[in-house]
Structure formats: structure tokens, C-alpha cells
């Protein structure tokens, strides 16, 4: 058995990922946006008695070292020495793709060219003579269609054949004519290098100023950089040509030769479907309305309809909760075993989150559709002008959308997607603003508060919440880019607008499920781990001895009252001990919660039947019907149950108040009181920094009764908290501004390569949040503004500030003179020149 190492290379949007999935059988993230595949993806599989290791390199237009993706790819080639390079080429866009092919061929390793999307090319009337290409490039060329699953076997055959024929491989050379003597000089210099890489390739790369290769050679030839510069200058002085531009032109010309000799376009000049669609989608007057309509549709489908779906999924979760409680040891009147308490706590935490899975699934599916269709870069195109104004980049759109610019997302993938932004200043600003977006884990928290305090205005409030974050992010980005990020390097906006593609149902469902799974996985690991710690922090140090005695007395009294009254009934012998009474109470609670979890009449009858079978006598007390003696018991039982729940709630609140977390919450109350936060909210904020999901879990658990019942967190909060809608508004505004979670902060650290930026990303938003929510609450209280009105004022203010900043002229124009060309768009010409000068320095 032989091992074959394969590198999969190709330009963005060539369908490389679908080819990878087809041959290796591993599903991964595929999108239509340049630069989504940044991580290294490996597939291990067997083919025809060969062990194949296939690495999916990031999509790059070129093989220089100017972007991170290109550096990653080149380092892989240098360090890992693949046996075969598979170059995926978009058959419908062959010329530009061949530009990369030439660079790959030059590396001096065997290449297999895969002409992907042959079906698309055929549909567009593009005839390609692949055999002729194969002959001209002297490498195997395979026709395929990843989306249709065609060509997988042929690709693998070509890979194996090429790997086996490695020893008869003849080096691929382009004759660079005028540049040849200079290449030769460098090649001669490095001919004794111990590097196993192709010398000629290295020589060419050195003349291109490729930093990766120069670093690679510097260990042996410390003066290689100067030597290269000398040759480049010489070439320039003889031919008045720049070597970089010369090489690129030469390769494009070579690609052009192949294109003209092997490709026949029958529909040339004819409008493609993409052209027709873009006439509407990118139309000057329609583009923005369409964009907002799409955003609104996404919002309606995911949040509004998704929320309605939870009405159907909630009973399932309630049933799960009841099932778990049934497994746990039963309570003995007001003495609830810690084990049971813990189980209820954990199930409540998990359920509060699981309830939102339908919303997430719809949202992720919609985002996947937009990515696959190719709408994302169009969004960047439409909105770049605005983003640019605030120091961001059109490419900030994707990270912001993933982070939750449209209704909800997750800052973790959002921050990670900033890798693709070439402009360093805009990239930093995007990293630091993505956490302001609507984290999906915050959405449950908002819906909880909205459900509790803004039922009639829920849609309006949700609209404010999901759109105001974008304005806040823009303001913050503007502030950051004009202050602390001012000295960062900027880069050009050069972005492909790929043709539209129909998304496949399978692809969308798989990706949506994967993302939902990530969410669930995060819930299981982080949130449940946090829930355990929190449970401990809420239990310790527990009730004081005095309180324990006090509650015990209250319990005794309640039981005595019951006992005295029960004697009047002929059923008294059945309920004359404490054990029997608590048994009956547990039976009663269990029945109540099961009845409420079922909505159908048949279900209710089934529950009745089950409980009748468990204990026929007890069932009489719960449903006495005409039995007068049983009715007496029923009446006092219900009363007793109420008293018991009250005692339990008081015990719990006291326990939480005295707990470690309660103390911490109280300790910051002096600051947060101006925002109207009491210690319970503080506890929720403190406890939720590990993962915002647990804010709902904590609040839900704090306000909910201890026993199994069907009351949702919203209802519990509304009934038990004592907040006004203005409180809720201040809380929402603070939540909008606080960074989502520890995971996000870790990713921020990874992307900025600094702990200082991470700390900044934590403390700046929190400070901002305290200040703004305090002002809103204090002003709202003074002028007795309602919660909704306070939100409207806040929203209008933020939008106003953003507009002022956006309309404020760019500061960069601070010089005059020079070559005066007639300008159509004033100012912009100069801005870029300034950036260039910075780059040259």
C-alpha cells in the first residue's frame, strides 16, 4: 500500500470544496464568498489500495505571498511536499483560473487539473477541448462537476497514475524571455541549496519579491534579498519593465493562449442569467430595498415563525423535564433533596436553550442559502460605501452578518471570518465590532424580556434590537479607526462578484445542521459546565440555622392546619402521617405538570388513567367529582400546596441572596442601581459571561418555581420579578453592548494576537454599556418615560449619531496640489494616495 499526499488548490468560487467533499466524503463549510475556507481541511481515505491524504488549501487567486491564505498555502507546499497538486479550475471562468494553474505548474511538482463545473460551462455554451489543454500543459486534465457528483473516480485515477509516474515527471518551464538571464543568475546562486524545492521556481519567486521563499532561502543565503533587488533593478533599467508586472502579464498571456486554442464560447456577449439578475438586484434604486427586504424576510422567517414553532417544541422539552424529575428522589414536604434540586437546575438550564433550536435552524439555513447563492459579496458591493465611511470594509459584511447583523448570529465564527479582510485597520475594527452584533445566545434573553414586558410591542422592540446594534457597531468602528487604530495599515477593495448558483437542498440542510450542532455542542460543554459551577455558587453557603428553624416551623404549622381540617373527612386515615401527605403532594404536583404538558383531550385522559393506576385513592382527592368527603381533602390539599410553594420560593430566594453569586451581585449594585439593575440581574450578567445562553437559564431558574410546572420563563419573570418595562429596556440596552462570551474573547485574542486587545474588547463595551443604560434608566425615571418610548429615544439618538459621523467628511484630505486630473469623484483619489505612501514607507 502506498501513501499519496495530495494538495487541493484553486481559486475562490471554483467549487473546490464540492470536489473535496465528493472524493473524500467529508462534508465541510462551502460558501460562495471569497475567502471563507481559511482553515486547513484534511481528508483521509483509501482508493485502489492507496492511502490518500488530501489537504484542501484555502482558495487563492494567485500563489504569491501577499495574503494570509496564499502564505498558508505556500507554507504547506514547502513544509509538507505533496506528491500531487490537484488544481481545481472553474470551467466557466477558465482564463483567470489558468493564471493560477501556471503558477502551480511552475512549482515543479506534478499537477492534475480538474475542470470543475463543466455542466455550468456547457449550459453557457462554452466548449472546452480538455485533451488539447492536457497536451499543451503536459499534465492530466479531468472534466468534472462537483455539484452533480460527476468525475470523482476519474480524478482519483488521475491522482494515483500521476503519483505512480512521479519518476518520469519532467519539469515544467515557462520561457520568460527577457527575464531569463536574471532568473538564471539567481538560480545559479542557490544551486547548492539544501532545500528540496525546485530551484528555478524559487528563483522566480525571489524575483517576485515573495517573502515566504526569501525567508526560506535566507538561512543559507543571507544576502538573497539584495541580490534579487539588484537583478530586478537591472531588468528595470534595461527594459523599463517591472518584474512583478512582467511575470503576471506573461502568465496571463500564456493563459490567454490556452484559452484561445482550446475554448470556444458560442454565446459570447450574450447576457447570462447572472447578468440579468444583477440588473435588478444591483439596480441603483432597487438594490437597497431588495437588501432590506431580504433582511426583513430572514428576520420574519427565523425569529417570528421560529418562535411560533417553539410552541410545538416546548411540550417535548417539558415532557423531558418531567421525565427527569420522575427519576429523581421525591421531596419530603419542604425538604427537597439536593440531588433533585440539581437535576431540575440542569434540565432547566438545558431546556431554556434547547427551546431556541428551531429559530437557529431556520436562521442558519437562510444564511447558508445566501452564501451559496452568492449574495454575500453583492451585499458587500452594495454597502461598501457606508462601511468605508466608518473605517470598515465591504468585506466586513460577512463577519458582521455571521456575528448577527441580521437578527442573530455568533460572534465566534464572525470574528474568525475577519481573516479574509486584507485591510488591517478595517479588519481590527471589524474584530472589535462583531461582538456588538446580536449574539444568538442573547436572543433568548431578549425574547424572555420581550415576552415578559413587551408582549404587544414585541415585533417593534425586536426590530430595534436587531437593527440598533449595526448603528452602534458603526459608531464604535468610526471612533476606533479614527483614534487607536488610526496608524494601522489599510488595503484595497478588490472583490470578485461570482455568478449566482442555485444552492443544493442537501448542502443547505447539512450546513444548517452542522451549525445547530455547534450550538448544541457549545451548550453541552460550556453552558452545562458553567451551570454546575453556578449551582455550587448558588448553594453555598446556604441557609442560616435560624432561617432553617423558621422555615421548619412554618412547614409544621401548615401541616398541622391540614391535619386538623383533614380530620373532618372520612378519608382521614389515608392522610394522617407526614409521609402520606408529602406523597400525596408529590402525586398532586406530578399530575398537574403532566396534565399541563399535554394539550389534547386524549392525552389528558391517558394521564388520568396512569394516575388512577398509580393510586386510586389519591386520584379521588385530585378529581373528587361527586365524592363530598374527597372534596374536603381536595380543598385543603390545594391550599397546602400553595403554602408549600411559597415556603419553597422564600427559602430559595434567601438561599440565592446569601450565596456567593448573590454576594457578588450585591457588591456591584451601588454601580448598577443607576441602570435599575438589582442583584438578580447582576447575577444573571455575571454568571452569563462564560456563555450568554446561561443568562436566560439563570434568570429562568431564579424566577421559576422549584417544582415541575409548565410555566415558561417569560411568565415567571413577569409575575415574580417586580420590574417595569423601563427596567427591561435598560437591561436590554446593557445586554446589547456587553461582549457575548469568553469563547468570543478567546477568538478575539487569536485574531489580534494580543491579550491587550482582548481585555480592551471586554472592558470598553462593558463601560459603555453601564454608562448608556444608566443614562437611559435615570432619564427615563426622571421624565417617567415608558419602556418602549425609552427604547425609541435611544434608537433615534444612536441612528442620529451614526448619520452625523457618516456624513462628516473624511479627515484624510489634508493636502492640496500635485497633478490635477479632472475628477469625477472628488477626494477619493487623494485618500488612496496617502495610504499608498504609508505602504511604501
Amino acid at each position: 500500500m502506498t501513501n499519496i499526499k495530495v494538495a487541493l488548490a484553486g481559486q475562490p468560487n471554483c467549487g473546490k470544496s464540492t470536489i473535496f467533499n465528493m472524493v473524500s466524503g467529508i462534508e465541510q463549510h462551502i460558501a460562495n464568498y471569497p475567502g471563507v475556507t481559511v482553515d486547513k481541511k484534511i481528508g483521509f481515505f483509501k482508493y485502489d489500495n492507496n492511502k490518500i491524504e488530501m489537504v484542501d488549501l484555502p482558495g487563492t487567486y494567485s500563489f504569491s505571498s501577499y495574503s494570509l491564505e496564499e502564505r498558508v498555502s505556500k507554507e504547506f507546499i514547502i513544509d509538507e511536499h505533496p506528491d500531487v497538486i490537484v488544481n481545481v479550475v472553474d470551467a466557466s471562468n477558465i482564463k483567470r483560473n489558468l493564471y493560477l494553474t501556471f503558477q502551480l505548474l511552475e512549482i515543479g511538482m506534478p499537477v492534475v487539473v480538474v475542470l470543475n463545473m463543466m455542466d455550468v460551462a456547457k449550459r453557457r455554451g462554452i466548449d472546452i477541448d480538455s485533451q488539447k489543454i492536457s497536451k499543451m500543459l503536459s499534465c492530466p486534465v479531468v472534466e468534472a462537476s462537483g455539484a452533480k457528483g460527476i468525475g470523482g473516480d476519474e480524478i482519483m485515477k488521475a491522482i494515483v497514475d500521476t503519483a505512480n509516474a512521479k519518476n518520469i515527471y519532467e519539469e515544467f518551464k515557462i520561457n520568460y524571455e527577457e527575464l531569463e538571464p536574471h532568473i538564471q543568475v539567481i538560480e545559479k546562486t542557490i544551486k547548492d541549496s539544501t532545500s528540496t524545492l525546485n530551484k528555478r521556481w524559487m528563483a522566480i519567486k525571489v524575483l517576485e519579491g515573495d517573502t515566504t521563499i526569501i525567508q526560506h532561502l535566507k538561512q543559507e543565503y543571507f544576502d538573497i534579498e539584495e541580490l534579487a533587488k539588484e537583478q530586478v533593478d537591472k531588468f528595470h533599467s534595461i527594459y523599463d519593465k517591472d518584474s512583478v508586472s512582467f511575470l503576471a502579464t506573461f502568465r496571463y498571456d500564456s493563459a490567454d493562449i490556452i484559452y484561445h486554442k482550446t475554448v470556444k464560447e458560442n454565446n459570447k456577449g450574450k447576457e447570462t442569467l447572472t447578468d440579468k439578475a444583477d440588473k435588478i438586484i444591483l439596480n441603483r434604486f432597487l438594490a437597497l430595498p431588495i437588501l432590506f427586504a431580504i433582511m426583513f424576510l430572514v428576520y420574519e422567517l427565523s425569529i417570528v415563525y421560529g418562535y411560533k414553532l417553539t410552541d410545538y417544541t416546548w411540550p417535548i422539552l417539558a415532557a423531558f423535564k418531567n421525565f427527569v424529575i420522575d427519576m429523581m428522589p421525591q421531596a419530603n414536604f419542604t425538604e427537597v433533596p439536593m440531588m433533585t434540586d440539581f437535576a431540575i437546575w440542569m434540565v432547566n438550564s438545558a431546556n431554556a436553550l434547547a427551546n431556541y433550536i428551531p429559530i437557529f435552524f431556520i436562521l442558519f439555513a437562510l444564511i447558508a442559502i445566501m452564501e451559496d447563492v452568492g449574495y454575500m459579496p453583492r451585499m458587500a458591493f452594495i454597502l461598501d460605501r457606508i462601511f468605508k465611511k466608518f473605517g470598515l470594509h465591504g468585506q466586513s459584511t460577512l463577519p458582521l452578518v455571521l456575528g448577527g447583523a441580521m437578527v442573530g448570529g455568533c460572534a465566534v465564527p464572525g470574528v474568525m471570518a475577519t481573516k479574509g479582510i486584507a485591510d488591517d485597520r478595517a479588519r481590527m475594527a471589524t474584530i472589535l465590532t462583531v461582538p456588538y452584533m446580536n449574539c444568538l445566545a442573547k436572543v433568548p434573553f431578549y425574547t424572555l424580556l420581550l415576552g415578559a414586558f413587551f408582549k404587544p410591542d414585541m415585533a417593534l422592540m425586536m426590530f430595534f434590537i436587531s437593527t440598533v446594534t449595526v448603528f452602534i457597531a458603526l459608531i464604535v468602528a468610526k471612533i476606533l479607526t479614527t483614534t487607536i487604530l488610526k496608524t494601522r495599515e489599510t488595503a484595497p477593495f478588490v472583490m470578485e462578484l461570482p455568478p449566482y448558483h442555485l444552492p443544493t437542498f442537501k448542502g443547505v440542510i447539512i450546513r444548517a445542521s452542522q451549525r445547530v450542532w455547534v450550538y448544541i455542542y457549545k451548550v453541552i460543554t460550556i453552558v452545562l459546565a458553567v451551570a454546575i459551577i453556578l449551582f455550587a455558587m448558588l448553594q453555598f453557603p446556604g441557609l442560616s440555622e435560624d432561617s432553617k428553624i423558621e422555615y421548619e416551623l412554618q412547614s409544621q404549622k401548615a401541616l398541622q392546619t391540614f391535619d386538623i381540617k383533614a380530620q373532618k373527612s372520612s378519608y382521614y386515615p389515608l392522610v394522617d402521617t407526614k409521609e402520606e401527605i408529602s406523597d400525596l403532594l408529590n402525586y398532586y404536583d406530578g399530575y398537574k405538570s403532566k396534565r399541563m404538558a399535554t394539550t389534547s383531550k386524549e392525552g389528558a385522559l391517558a394521564v388520568d388513567e396512569t394516575y388512577k393506576n398509580i393510586n386510586e385513592n389519591y386520584f379521588k382527592f385530585i378529581k373528587p367529582r361527586r365524592d363530598k368527603e374527597a372534596k374536603k381533602i381536595n380543598k385543603i390539599l390545594r391550599k397546602l400546596s400553595k403554602v408549600r410553594n411559597k415556603i419553597l420560593r422564600n427559602m430559595k430566594n434567601e438561599k440565592v441572596e446569601n450565596s456567593l453569586l448573590g454576594m457578588a451581585g450585591k457588591a456591584v449594585e451601588p454601580i448598577t442601581q443607576y441602570a435599575g439593575f438589582d442583584w438578580k440581574i447582576n447575577v444573571a450578567f455575571l454568571s452569563s459571561f462564560a456563555a450568554r445562553e446561561s443568562a436566560v437559564a439563570t434568570l429562568g431558574s431564579l424566577y421559576e418555581n422549584n417544582k415541575a410546572d409548565d410555566m415558561r420563563a417569560e411568565e415567571a419573570m413577569e409575575k415574580n420579578s417586580g420590574y417595569t418595562p423601563l427596567h427591561a429596556t435598560a437591561i436590554i440596552i446593557f445586554m446589547l453592548l456587553t461582549p457575548p462570551c469568553i469563547a468570543t474573547m478567546i477568538v478575539v485574542k487569536m485574531q489580534t494576537y494580543s491579550y491587550r486587545w482582548m481585555l480592551f474588547a471586554i472592558f470598553f463595551p462593558v463601560t459603555l454599556g453601564v454608562i448608556i443604560s444608566s443614562s437611559v434608566f435615570t432619564l427615563g425615571t426622571i421624565y417617567s418615560i415608558s419602556g418602549v418610548d425609552a427604547m425609541i429615544y435611544f434608537y433615534v439618538t444612536i441612528v442620529f449619531i451614526a448619520l452625523v459621523l457618516g456624513l462628516y467628511p473624511d479627515k484624510n484630505i489634508n493636502w492640496k496640489g500635485g497633478l490635477k486630473l479632472p475628477t469625477k469623484s472628488k477626494g477619493q483619489y487623494n485618500i488612496f494616495d496617502k495610504n499608498l505612501r504609508k505602504e511604501e514607507n
Binding site: K95, V244, T249, V494, L497, I831
Partner: protein, 81 residues
């Protein structure tokens, strides 16, 4: 190439105009990026449209579509065809 026409800047071209690259007045990262995307001397460009907010412009080059900010397009010298 028609020599009687003066060279112009790409950002000043209107929708539907067809031009040819003459020279790119830049260096470094941007130069590399533009070359890689096919803005080599002699390539044909068609101006497809401006973005709704007038700034980035959409171009067709080597039979695919690309968008450039006008600030970058202003560095590309072209002649109209």
C-alpha cells in the same frame, strides 16, 4: 491602439464603456492584487455599473465580474476602445 485618444482614468468611465488597461500607477500589495485579478497591460475591461451608492464600481474583465472602489480604479490608466 488608437493613439489619437488621450489616456483616461478607469474611475471616470461610464456604465457600458469598454476600455483597455494601459498602465497601473501603484506598487506593493495593491499592484500585486490587481495583477493577480487580471489587470495586466492590454486587458479589456467593460464597466458594468456603479454600486447603488455610487462607490464601488463593477467591471467585467477576462469574462468575470469584479468590483473596485473608485479610489483604486483611479490608479488604473486606460484608453477607450
Amino acid at each position: 491602439m488608437k493613439l489619437d485618444k488621450p489616456n483616461q482614468r478607469l474611475d471616470m468611465m461610464n456604465q457600458g464603456q469598454k476600455v483597455q488597461v494601459v498602465k497601473i500607477h501603484t506598487t506593493g500589495k495593491l499592484m500585486h492584487k490587481l495583477l493577480d485579478m487580471g489587470f495586466v497591460n492590454g486587458s479589456d475591461i467593460e464597466v458594468i455599473r456603479e454600486a447603488p451608492l455610487f462607490d464601488p464600481m463593477e467591471l467585467k474583465i477576462h469574462n468575470y465580474n469584479i468590483s473596485l472602489r473608485k479610489s483604486e480604479a483611479s490608479l488604473i490608466e486606460v484608453i477607450t476602445l
